[in-house]
Amino acid sequence: MDVMKAEKVSFGYGSHKILQNLNFEMNNNQVIGLFGDSGSGKSTLCKILTGFITDYEGEVTVNGQKHNGGYNPIQLIYQHPEKVMNPRWKMKDVLEESWMPDEKILNEFGIKKEWFKRYPSELSGGELQRFSILRALNPKTKFIIADEISTMLDAVTQVQIWESLLTVARENNVGVLLVSHDKRLINRISDEMVYLSDITD
């Protein structure tokens, strides 16, 4: 079993403190929903957990080990998939930067082969988000942090994407932290709901 742990994490942008003494722990068989009002620092926490922000106090570990260099076992799926894709790359290169999934997984996510030849600007938000989820599902990933990944999608796509993500994550024993300000979504999808205000001072 893999355990992800955040211990005594504090962070602020400049003097503007966002997170104070945060403690959180989960294992790779869990799907946990993290709730917080908008502006409460959820995205900031996601960036800390996944190494996008590094100058924080405290520690983030997987099985007791801090990440330094190489593939990060904690991967972030972002609210805006277009921001984490090189706009000049075709989708095939975008995906392969992480790995190339097999047919089964591609089908699970409804990825069409013809999309591979397109640029990010030539796909819809929902289609891009599928790619961005797939990239994060690299076999080396142990935890996925999903930061409001379905906010901008319509209800049907939202359900489809979450079903595919959870199917593959469960099959591969990947823990999922679903971050949202939407309690209904968290209740529907996750095993457990955690309030950001409860795990910080």
Partner: protein, 284 residues
């Protein structure tokens, strides 16, 4: 984007590509013929005076007319363009190297970046012509002086663009994510950064070239550039000023036009290549 819009875009794209290739073809043909003619033309024969033929207006025999020494202006213009292109090419190479070095150097850390920005701003703020003249004088003038002067003063726009571009790429989320995927700095530089800046460099050089030529001509015209015995366009223009009042308009008109044509041609190529290599920004 709908199907028809997509088709429309493709059609326009194709058009732009063929158009650009056509212009590049023309430019290459001109450069090549100027280059070849510079080798084939018997310099001394062209530049020696022939007093039976002085100050003739343009005719079939002398397309651009002849000057007060009976020299064929078409030949002189060709030679002049040859010199201008040579100076422009050398100067552009120097400027490009400086711009790339500074651009890449600026990404080391914030202190270096601020220093680079300061240098760029400093050079950018001094009036161009003045700086070129000073540098040319400092290098002892002549062909060498002009090449150095133009080369050492034309890197600022490209350096600015490269610095900004590298900074933008480096702070983008997809570069950060690339590190999370375990990619090395080298891999990121090679796959993400280099392909992006190479198009900026190509466009920068193409746009820099006509500027370099113009400035060479300007300072030669003002008498600070190439020596008076060289048939450079700037020299031709400044000499012909004395004869304009006598109505020998062709002495300045055709060489000036030829230079202008060359400059505009390269500006056009630069713009089109920019649109081709950078469809993203062209779309916006």
């Amino acid at each position: 984007m709908t199907k028809t819009e997509e088709k429309h875009k493709k059609f326009l794209n194709l058009n732009l590509r063929t158009k650009t290739l056509l212009i590049i073809g023309i430019a290459f043909l001109i450069l090549f013929s100027v280059f070849v003619s510079n080798y084939l033309i018997d310099h001394t024969a062209v530049l020696t005076s022939n007093f039976y033929n002085i100050n003739q207006p343009p005719s079939f025999e002398h397309w651009f007319g002849t000057d007060w020494m009976g020299r064929d202006m078409f030949m002189r213009t060709l030679l002049g363009l040859g010199i201008s292109i040579g100076v422009g090419a050398f100067a552009s190479i120097i400027s490009t190297i400086i711009a790339i070095l500074l651009g890449v150097f600026s990404s080391v850390n914030t202190i270096v970046d601020e220093a680079v920005t300061a240098v760029i701003d400093l050079f950018g703020s001094i009036p161009h012509i003045l700086l070129i003249i000073l540098v040319s004088l400092a290098f002892g003038g002549g062909y060498y002086g002009v090449v150095m002067a133009v080369g050492l003063t034309h890197w600022t726009p490209l350096a600015r663009v490269l610095r900004a571009e590298i900074k933008k790429i480096n702070t983008s989320e997809y570069i950060k994510l690339s590190t999370e995927f375990g990619k090395s700095k080298m891999w990121i530089a090679k796959k993400h950064i280099f392909p992006l800046i190479i198009s900026q460099i190509i466009v920068g050089v193409i746009l820099m070239f006509p500027h370099a030529i113009m400035h060479e001509a300007s300072i030669s015209f003002l008498g600070f550039g190439l020596p008076a015995h060289e048939p450079a366009i700037g020299i031709i223009l400044s000499e012909s000023m004395k004869y304009l009042s006598m109505g020998y308009w062709w002495l300045a008109f055709y060489p000036g036009l030829a230079l202008l044509f060359l400059v505009l041609l390269f500006d056009l190529i630069g713009e089109n290549v920019h649109k081709l290599l950078d469809p993203q920004s062209a779309q916006e």
